[in-house]
């Protein structure tokens, strides 16, 4: 039983042995920049392999060209106008219906199937139908955005309302906490994160919806312009617009919603 065991070294000791350049190379910023370089090289490689994939140079060319022609701002103004109305409507309607579902089991039984069906209808369907109903104009993208986004808001809000702890609710009522404090300290912190997640979903889904409706609607906007280049077989022009509308949604999602959701979930995430 007198076996000697080689002493195991702690992780810190091992890390201390490694040279400094290695630590810098494996740091998070280095990893991220490595990723961007790798992704860019992959793009170059793909563009070289397939002639149908436009390379970075031609895409940047097109992008500059589109800005110079003044196509970018006008079309994005149209798209944003439709998108923001659709998303705003879906958030309002979604919160109302979601709260109803979250509070009453009977409302849940009644509304469950419509929401489920709404979730499984793709945006393309709404784009087709609304173009038939409302013709070419603002109405079709707005309604498409609204209809694709609203089920996601409902689901998230309902989940949040159900998540408000029943025990805490009972306790605060038995200790006679005033209603304003109850709403401020119990209901709002529990629900706001879910509402925000719902809005975020609505923005991502609605952005797809508005672009699709514009693609088929033919009344201007970012989606319409992307289709113009696609139909002309100018894939570099299409890719330039992809860069634009993907860039917009990422800026919106990361800068606005990521920050806001960190704030909203602050109370929960602090524990771990």
């Amino acid at each position: 039983m007198t076996q000697t065991v080689t002493r195991r070294r702690s992780a810190e000791e091992m890390a201390g042995d490694a040279p400094a350049w290695r630590g810098r190379l494996t740091s998070n910023p280095a990893a991220r920049s490595t990723f961007y370089v790798a992704a860019f090289l992959t793009w170059l490689l793909l563009a070289a392999l397939f002639e149908r994939i436009p390379g970075p140079a031609s895409v940047v060319d097109r992008l500059i060209e589109e800005f110079r022609r003044g196509e970018v701002f006008g079309n994005f103004a149209d798209t944003f106008y439709r998108f923001s109305i659709g998303v705003a409507l879906s958030v309002v309607a979604g919160i109302l219906i979601g709260v109803l579902i979250g509070l009453s089991p009977m409302a849940r039984a009644f509304l469950e199937s419509p929401v489920m069906v709404g979730l499984s209808i793709p945006a393309i369907m709404w784009a087709f139908l609304t173009v038939m109903w409302f013709g070419f104009g603002h109405m079709s993208p707005i309604v498409t955005t609204f209809l694709t986004a609203v089920p996601f808001v409902i689901l998230n809000v309902a989940q949040g309302v159900q998540g408000v702890s029943r025990d805490l609710r009972d306790m605060s009522s038995s200790y006679g906490i005033p209603l304003t404090r109850r709403v401020r300290d119990l209901v709002l912190p529990a629900v706001s994160g879910y509402v925000l997640a719902g809005v975020r979903f609505a923005v991502i889904m609605g952005w797809n919806g508005v672009l699709l409706a514009e693609w088929f609607g033919g009344s201007g906007g970012a989606g319409y312009r992307a289709r113009y280049w696609y139909d002309a077989n100018q894939f570099a022009g299409f890719a330039a617009w992809v860069v634009l509308f993907v860039g917009v949604i990422i800026v919106l999602d990361q800068l606005v919603f990521e920050k806001a959701s960190r704030r909203a979930f602050r109370w929960r995430d602090q524990t771990h």
Binding site: T26, N28, P29, A31, R32, T34, F35, Y36, A39, F50, R52, I53, P105, M106, A109, F110, L111, E112, S113, P114, M116, V117, L119, S120, I121, P122, A123, I124, M125, F128, L129, M132, W133, I204, W207, N208, L211, L212, W215, G223, A226, Y230, F235, F238, V242, F245, V246, I249, I250, D253, Q254
Partner: protein, 284 residues
């Protein structure tokens, strides 16, 4: 301060437990009937709104539910459903398999190593935010009119979901369990199989359920843009003929099928695989 004594309220009539059980059973049956009635009412309201809208919209732009039902029956009876539906399902399944084969290792790396987490983080978040339209048209540009386009689109859209969920599952592994296994001299392979895999299975199911809903929509979308067969291809055909009844009928069949798969296959499978850990199943 002493705790106040809470006295049980005097019951109206002393019932035996058998009577109580009968009452409770009756109440639960009543509750179930009420729920069922509301569920039926939900469907009825949906069809009712559709019917009213069909009546008021200009002729030919929205067929009423009965016409669509008849068209659906024609498609099913004519046998067109089977070939096109299976073409779509096969493409979705292959795309899913590709997504799993790429997403699971990426998720594993992201969950276990900080370096890879930082490496893939931006790419996965960006890939998850890109509108489905982009994936559909890009795969079409790459592969042209072929079955590979929808497969690529499905793979592109589901890979981030798989990777994110697997990564989260790995990070959720109980570290003290891993340390204990190491202390007792278990091999890394055993730890992987007995500790890691069972923990991430629920997360993988969550990933499948989440991306399933998105994946088939993208598949249909890609077929609408440039498929050679499948449900999306049929939808485009009917749209080009301005046959809105046909468009909605195909759509309805696909929705019915997907809901059946979600309810009957995925949920049952999940219950089966997770039968040994009831708490994860309860959290739906």
């Amino acid at each position: 301060m002493s705790n106040p004594v809470i006295e049980a309220p005097p019951t109206a009539a002393a019932v035996t437990w058998q009577e109580g059980e009968v009452l409770a059973r009756r109440a639960s049956a009543r509750h179930k009937r009420k729920r069922l009635a509301l569920l039926v009412a939900g469907w009825a309201a949906m069809l009712g709104i559709w019917q009213v809208a069909a009546y008021y919209l200009p002729f030919g732009t929205l067929p009423n539910p009965l016409e669509v039902g008849a068209e659906m029956w024609d498609i099913v009876a004519g046998g067109a459903l089977v070939s096109d539906l299976f073409a779509s399902i096969a493409k979705t399944a292959v795309g899913f398999a590709v997504a799993g084969a790429i997403g699971a290792p990426v998720g594993y790396l992201m969950g276990r190593y900080n370096y890879w987490k930082a490496f893939f983080h931006d790419g996965v978040t960006v890939a998850g935010t890109i509108p489905a339209l982009t994936y559909a048209v890009l795969s079409l540009i790459i592969f042209g009119l072929s079955d590979l386009g929808p497969v690529l689109a499905v793979a592109l859209v589901s890979t981030p979901y798989v990777a994110l969920n697997v990564a989260e599952g790995i990070r959720g592994v109980d570290q003290s369990l891993v340390k204990m296994s190491q202390a007792f001299g278990r091999s890394p392979r055993q730890i992987r199989r007995e500790v890691f895999v069972p923990t991430i299975v629920p997360y993988v199911f969550a990933a499948i359920r989440m991306s399933f809903a998105v994946a088939w929509k993208v598949e249909a979308l890609t077929e609408v843009f440039g498929g050679t067969n499948g449900v999306g291809f049929q939808i485009r055909n009917e749209y080009q003929l301005f046959n809105i009844t046909g468009v909605i009928a195909w759509m309805g069949l696909f929705i019915v099928f997907m809901l059946l798969v979600e309810r009957l296959v995925l949920r049952k499978l999940e219950q089966r695989v997770l039968a040994w850990r009831p708490d994860e199943r309860a959290v739906q």
